[in-house]
Amino acid sequence: MTTTAPSPLATIRAMALGYAPRIFQGRGWVLAASAIGPVVLVLGGHLIARLQGAESSAGEALQIFHEMIRMMLPIMALVAAPAGIREDLEQRTLPLLLVRPAPAWALPLGKGLPWFLWGALWLVVGTLGLQLLGGDPSLLLGRLGAQVGAWWGELALMTLVGLLFKRGTLWGALYFFIWEPLVRIFPPFLQRLTFTHYIESLAGSRSTSVQTSQLLAQEQVTTHPLLAFLILVAFGALCWAFAGWKLQRTPVGLAGSEAEG
């Protein structure tokens, strides 16, 4: 039998379909819960407050949602990325993929794609569910773009970090939970090196809700929503490409450790 090497698209498709069942298992449902959890909490809190006769405006509930989802998106990336190509590296099943004639650079994206689509689905469902609060429909597209774009970028970043470093999850967590909040006390232009900036530029919370007193030592930097979305998408694509390049160029033996560091 004579076979020819599959195209990059065929490789991505094969990987995505082959590993798709993984998203319907435990980790996949944790991911779904991470995406939908903030929505359920906000809606539940709003409902309880209304039932108890307390005042609870839709604006406040949306503000809480924005804060929560900003925290949950990195958690989603930290949950999903280790199930990507990093999983094969750790379980030493990567050699089985690398001895195929398929382009190795397409493997990380192929394996990450089901996770991206699954997470994006739940983010969209959650955001649409939020409209039950009566949020401004004109901001809906921005909210969707912010979450899906940031999810794409953060998942890609975590996949890349997982291939670059043995403790990729740790480095990713440090970036998301130390650097992103910390950057607010540094010069304003550094805001552009955070996902938060683009999420806020797209979702609109920055310009509508954040008070000057909430910022420590910086001016507010704004980016046009469309440009913010494109930057998130491009950053994600760049990270997937870099992860693919890393895998293509780096020898990975049966012990699985050669690709690290």
Partner: protein, 306 residues
């Protein structure tokens, strides 16, 4: 088909494989890669399967360097050591994916999945998740993924580990039939008996060096420092009298109804023995080489290089 020219492999400061040169010809057949743990077998297999590029020298498979080379990878199959398979998947779907990654599609893909499952006797268990499979079943699935695209070169790293005796026999029969069908098979093992059952053509590795290459007999003949032990059955007194006159004789031991000789340079001794027996000069009823087997060769060679 396989050509190594001073190919070596380093893991940082550690030398996994010293500069090694050998060739395996086109066509089917089984070659055993033999050596104790840590001898460099897996290093060599990783070079041959294109997982790692050589640190020095050159590796050619089908005339090309194999590292990330689709033209080579489309023609080889690898069964790495162990029984690891991706978690959370089922065999049928996973094999389908592996087939697609090998360039198969449509009916050819379905046929390849079905045939490979049938070959390894797993057709009725392809629906099982890997986690519910026994070690032997997982090993069979790993073999199926290596076979499904019809490779011309099949590389197996310690394939018998963890298999029960029945599964071993099945695997041996399968490998033999594949070899007869024109597949060149390279099997590594640190257990001599396994290789001896499969083939007598071996590559012997020890401490990262290729010690010997050839059939057991060919390699044994290189070991003139270690006499070959032969048991000659017949009239022991007459046989012993003939033997002591031979210049290659190193030692002699009398047994009931036979005599055990230690002989140097068997290539010169054997023709003379055959001629004497044929001419009726000695009453020889049977000739048994006592240490002309893989165990003995392995012991001698590794002892020499230890």
């Amino acid at each position: 088909m396989i050509a190594l020219d001073r190919a070596s492999l380093r893991y940082g400061p550690i030398l996994g494989l010293s500069p090694t040169t050998f060739e395996l010809p086109d066509g089917g057949g089984i070659t055993g890669l033999l050596g104790p743990n840590g001898a460099g077998k897996s290093s060599l297999l990783q070079l041959l399967s294109g997982l790692l590029p050589p640190s020095g020298g050159e590796v050619r498979i089908f005339g090309e360097a194999p590292f990330r080379n689709p033209a080579v990878l489309a023609r080889l199959g690898l069964v790495p050591e162990g029984d690891r398979l991706p978690t959370g998947l089922r065999a049928g779907r996973w094999l389908r994916m592996m087939g697609e990654l090998s360039g198969l599609s449509g009916e050819a893909l379905s046929l390849a999945v079905a045939q490979s499952l049938e070959t390894v006797g797993m057709t009725d268990r392809a629906h099982l998740p890997f986690v519910r499979m026994s070690k032997g079943m997982r090993q069979r699935i790993r073999l199926a993924q290596a076979l499904m695209h019809g490779p011309e070169l099949l590389i197996l790293d310690e394939p018998f580990n963890g298999l029960d005796p029945e599964a071993r026999l099945t695997l041996i029969a399968l490998l033999r039939s594949l070899a007869e069908g024109g597949v060149r098979i390279l099997v590594s093992s640190h257990i001599l008996g396994e290789i001896a059952q499969l083939t007598d053509r071996i590559l012997l590795l020890f401490r990262g060096r290729l010690l010997a290459e050839g059939t057991v007999t060919e390699i044994r003949q290189l070991l003139d420092r270690h006499p070959v032990e032969l048991r000659l059955t017949g009239e022991a007194q007459v046989l012993a009298r003939w033997a002591v006159e031979q210049p290659e004789l190193a030692a002699l031991r009398m047994e009931e109804g036979s005599v055990v000789l230690s002989v140097r340079s068997p290539r010169e001794f054997f023709p003379r023995l055959q001629q004497a027996a044929a001419e009726g000069g000695i009453p020889l009823q049977a000739l048994d080489p006592l240490d002309l087997n893989l165990d003995a060769v392995f012991q001698y060679l590794t002892k020499d290089h230890a």
